[in-house]
Point group: C2
DNA sequence: TGCTGTGAAACCGTTCACAGCT
DNA sequence: AGCTGTGAACGGTTTCACAGCA
């Protein structure tokens, strides 16, 4: 049973697995599968079944003993749990390759999110639109535009040196979560959820693993 | 002292911290800082100093008691440790927004890596180049071209449904590590280092954290 | 004195094993 | 019988605290 009081923040690992779980449930539902066991689910990700059950147990009881989990129901409850049952507005700072890639990504515009605006300093880009039609505004308009659009999530796809100023502008615009792709750690900001994702680190991770394997 | 025998694979968490550490050391070196303590370093990432020392202790002794770490020396030893002291060739499958963004990224073309080719199915793209000059070849040429370029790392920036075939083509081309950005888990492949990175999951993570904080 | 390197302790996440429900 | 939910055991990671060296 979940604690009704203050709950500790869910661990990164659990959060990640719940996302994968939801993805798998969507596939199963599309395939017309009605129920699924923790064992079946775990096998999809190379996990142990108890892991799946423990992750879910943090939030309540979801299954039926002797039967398993009803796919459609569990999927809906997970979406609700993760806050994906409503659409949050996303704005992206930096209309370079990466910013535009994210703006046009199907994955950034489905089930819980939609990209409402891009921002850039480059006057040649300002006023135009990304391939999928997201308007590019001048970076100086971030606070005002973010507020008008009721943006909740800001994405940083700008150079490292621009991060502090742009992050501040986003927060001024009322954004409550920031996803930072620049290769610099954006420190914690009060009342804002910050996540740093440096794509280079994934490559370095591969290099390191290759090195450890003697390649 | 590091074990001279078979070493357990370094944990994900340690790998990640070492990358951040290296990034910080590069900045410090550029600033002309000569030595730095584990405490100073830890403060940069909101970590504990013992964490830094323990991470490094996995690989040997790097510091000077009473003094700290010599920035330039530690940086060089870390680069060597992570296999970044040589340049590995990267090829990218999928010349869409994301693929081209990665191909042109300074971060994917510095200190240890360089992107040698892009591949796509779209005939209109084949034969042209990305903004920074990376040639786009037809996907059918992946095995041969990867081999000729001596590519060690393959990046998947293709739709989920194309992942299995393209991954196989990369492995046929001699690639020993794959970084998969498609929203589908690429299962382990023998003798290949696989890393799955779904950008959507980072957004979902933010959504989940917002939900937990009652936003 | 100051800071590293490291055993020991504390903490957290995973796996086991089984009670309990269908 | 089958599968969930969960206390207990386990294993790994982080933090503490201090010995040892410059």
């Amino acid at each position: 049973m979940p604690d009704e009081g203050v709950r500790a923040a869910t661990s990164e690992a659990t959060t990640h697995r719940l996302s994968l779980l939801l993805r798998a449930l969507r596939v199963l539902e599309a395939e017309g599968v009605g129920t699924v066991s923790s064992h079946d689910l775990a096998a999809r990700f190379g996990l142990h079944s108890a892991q799946i059950r423990k992750d879910l147990a943090l939030f309540g009881e979801f299954g039926v003993r002797g039967v398993g989990y009803r796919v459609a129901e569990l999927k809906d409850r997970l979406r609700n749990l993760m806050g994906l049952d409503r659409s949050r507005t996303v704005v992206i700072a930096g209309a370079g390759n990466l910013g535009q890639a994210l703006a046009d990504s199907r994955n950034f515009n489905s089930d819980g999110f939609h990209v409402a605006a891009l921002f850039d300093l480059d006057g040649r880009k300002v006023g135009s639109k990304s391939r999928s039609g997201v308007s590019i505004h001048h970076a100086s308009e971030i606070p005002q535009a973010a507020r008008e659009l009721k943006a909740e999530i800001g994405v940083l796809a700008v150079p490292a040196e621009a991060v502090p100023d742009v992050a501040r502008a986003l927060v001024d615009g009322g954004v409550v979560a920031i996803l930072n792709f620049a290769p610099v750690t954006l420190p914690a900001i009060e009342n804002v959820v910050v996540k740093n994702v440096d794509l280079t680190l994934f490559l370095e991770n591969l290099s390191f693993q290759l090195k450890e394997r003697g390649r």
